[in-house]
């Protein structure tokens, strides 16, 4: 098992700086600052989640214009959050971010419930 990685080990701006490995000349390989590409995979997971929000937004758009555009806007917000997760320490901000995503999904579910009853099914 390799040594544990700290949040600061995942800083891509450190790519190309001399490695911490003794006797390893040249730029550090990608694996060095993103072990297992965990950072990149998490970024892609945020992207997929934003796309899922957009899909729900498009579905809501079919029944209600304003509600649909709101959900599509939320997809944009989640897309923006994709850039912020680099702070891996579980700080209040990360908890707030994930709680925000959760509450957003609950809000979207409530919108979908309301539309189920007051929308105009075709």
């Amino acid at each position: 098992m390799p040594p544990p990685r700290r949040a600061e080990d995942f800083d891509p701006s450190r790519a190309g700086t001399p490695g911490s490995r003794p006797g390893a000349p040249g730029p550090r390989p990608a694996e060095d600052f993103d072990p297992g590409l965990a950072r990149e995979r998490t970024r892609l997971a945020w992207t997929r989640t934003a796309i899922a929000f957009a899909a729900v937004g498009a579905a809501v758009l079919k029944s209600h214009l304003v509600a649909g555009l709101t959900v599509l806007g939320l997809a944009g917000v989640v897309w923006g959050l994709r850039q912020l997760f680099r702070d891996t320490a579980v700080t209040r901000s990360q908890t707030a971010r994930l709680l925000g995503v959760t509450l957003t999904v609950v809000a979207v579910a409530l919108v979908a419930l309301v539309l189920s009853f007051v929308g105009h099914p075709r």
Partner: protein, 134 residues
């Protein structure tokens, strides 16, 4: 697993020796993995909401079962919200367990998902049979 991993890092070991802290920052890979799991459940929740909305809004009504679409769609939407909330609760619990080096709790979500899908399949069959008998 996280605890055993930490013991190989001299910095963390020294830190733990100086002051006996019960919580340490886990390996960032575990933090990332936990976050990806949360995001995967979030997408599952969104898929449920999308399916529920699609059934209610896009399907033609079941002949003879006017409430059929709502009977199938509304539970899917409610389940989507529930999965999102349980997913967050699980993320927070896992992160706490990682920080303390405790084993992570078993997830209630697979059972919830299996029971809900099984139940919905039965309800769907009943609605279709009622509609066919009409």
């Amino acid at each position: 697993m996280a605890t055993a991993d930490h013991s190989s890092d001299p910095g963390v070991a020294a830190e733990a020796g100086a002051a006996p802290v019960t919580e340490t920052e886990p390996d960032a890979r575990y933090t990332f993995a936990n976050e990806r799991t949360f995001l995967a459940w979030t997408r599952t929740a969104l898929a449920f909401i999308l399916a529920g909305l699609g059934i209610v809004q896009l399907l033609p009504p079941f002949p003879g079962v006017p409430w059929g679409r709502h009977l199938l769609g509304v539970p899917l939407i409610v389940l989507g919200a529930a999965i999102a909330v349980v997913g967050y609760w699980q993320w927070a619990g896992n992160q706490k367990a990682l920080r303390r080096g405790e084993p992570v709790r078993r997830s209630p979500l697979p059972l919830l998902l299996a029971a809900a899908i099984g139940g919905l399949a039965v309800v769907t069959a009943v609605v279709l049979l009622l509609s066919a008998m009409h």
